[in-house]
């Protein structure tokens, strides 16, 4: 059975698209047939983050309007055979997205896909509402910062009332907290909300922590989802997140302050053979 995942946050710029892209790559690399759908009509960006911007011919809205069929619009990832991207339209207005249209497309995708990842736009307008409407689980991307935490709480409220599962009184959407741009150093200094602070306020299970990392910008510069940068802290944190999402028991990493350079140097000397 297909699982539909929404990646949402309310606030913009917290890492929804970065997360959607890495989630797509992570799940597809493990052999699940996965599609990532960009719901940000008019401000398409998933294509850039996933490095397929020059291969976009048809988009989400074309399919809704029957100007193209789903297979024409889905872009297969260059290297990962089980990964597909459905780009948002860049030119049309948001009203082109309809409940019926989205429902029809998803219905068709349920036949072949294991996972469908809905990359939500910021805000609480139609695109964001439709991205979450059909979801089975939700990834709430949150920065340890007041406006992001408040917006995440708003989104949790919407997830529990304005979704298909809520309306049909079915089992509620599974919620996962993903804390991104986390800086253990600033938390230690008392200048940033800690994991437990955010947990205490939002009260949903923690799926993972992605540390603030230069690897994320490098990844988007190159159009290669950061999870593929296996050497990087952010990349390996995303790989852990995928494992945890699939039920593996993986301890959280990158939550402690890195050792001071002097300490590191000292330890290096200690371990060096005499």
């Amino acid at each position: 059975m297909t699982k539909t995942i929404v990646v949402t946050s309310g606030k913009g710029g917290v890492g929804k698209t970065t997360t959607s892209a890495s989630f797509g790559v992570g799940l597809a690399s493990r052999g699940f047939k996965t599609a990532v759908i960009d719901f940000d009509i008019g401000l398409r960006n998933l294509d850039l983050i996933m490095g397929c911007e020059r291969r976009v011919v048809y988009d989400f809205v074309n399919v809704i309007r029957n100007e193209a069929n789903l297979n024409q619009a889905l872009i297969r990832h260059k290297h990962i055979k089980d990964l597909f991207i459905l780009p948002a339209s860049q030119t049309r207005d948001k009203d082109a997205l309809t409940l019926e249209g989205v429902s029809n497309i998803l219905e068709e995708m349920y036949k072949t896909f294991d996972y469908i990842i809905c990359d939500s736009p910021a805000g609480i307008e139609r695109g964001a509402q439709l991205a979450m409407y059909f979801a089975d689980s939700a990834i709430i991307v949150t920065n340890p910062e007041v406006s992001s935490v408040r917006d995440s709480d708003r989104m949790l409220g919407l997830l529990s009332s304005k979704t298909k599962r809520a309306e049909e009184n079915r089992e509620p959407i599974t919620e996962h907290l993903l804390l991104t741009r986390y800086s253990p150093k600033r938390v230690a200094r008392g200048d940033m909300l800690s994991i437990s602070d955010v947990n205490e306020i939002l009260r949903i299970p923690l799926l993972g922590i992605i540390p603030e990392s230069p690897a994320v910008l490098r990844a988007s510069n190159g159009g290669v989802p950061v999870i593929l940068d296996e050497e990087s802290d952010a990349g390996s944190a995303y790989a852990d997140v995928i494992g945890r999402f699939l039920g593996e028991d993986i301890p959280h990493r990158f939550i402690e302050e890195k050792n001071h350079w002097l300490k590191r140097l000292f330890r290096f000397k200690e371990t060096e053979p005499a």
């Binding site: 408040r150 409220g157 008392g190 800690s194 602070d197 306020i201």
Partner: protein, 91 residues
């Protein structure tokens, strides 16, 4: 500036400022608790409250805070609870 003022100022300079993360957490807890109580309420509720207030105010003088309006959801229906605190009127 007296000597003690100067000392206070110097001490203040060296004092560690309040942790800003603590402030963030406190502020968030308050605003989110408040916003959660507003959730799930229909949009017309504040307007309804304003209109009811206006009607009551035609007869007695009351404050905005003297009208409380709650909407409680039961399985198949909602209950609108209206609470108006009237001031003591000397007859």
């Amino acid at each position: 500036m007296s000597l003690s003022d100067k000392i206070t100022k110097i001490l203040h300079y060296f004092r560690r400022p309040d942790k800003s993360a603590k402030m963030a957490k406190d502020r968030l807890q308050i605003i989110i608790a408040h916003e959660r109580t507003l959730e799930d309420k229909p949009d017309y509720l504040p307007l309804l409250q304003k209109d009811i207030l206006a009607v009551v105010a035609k007869y007695v003088t009351i404050n905005q805070d003297d009208v409380r309006i709650e909407l409680e959801r039961k399985d198949s229906c909602s209950i609108l609870e209206l609470n108006v605190v009237l001031p003591h009127v000397d007859s």
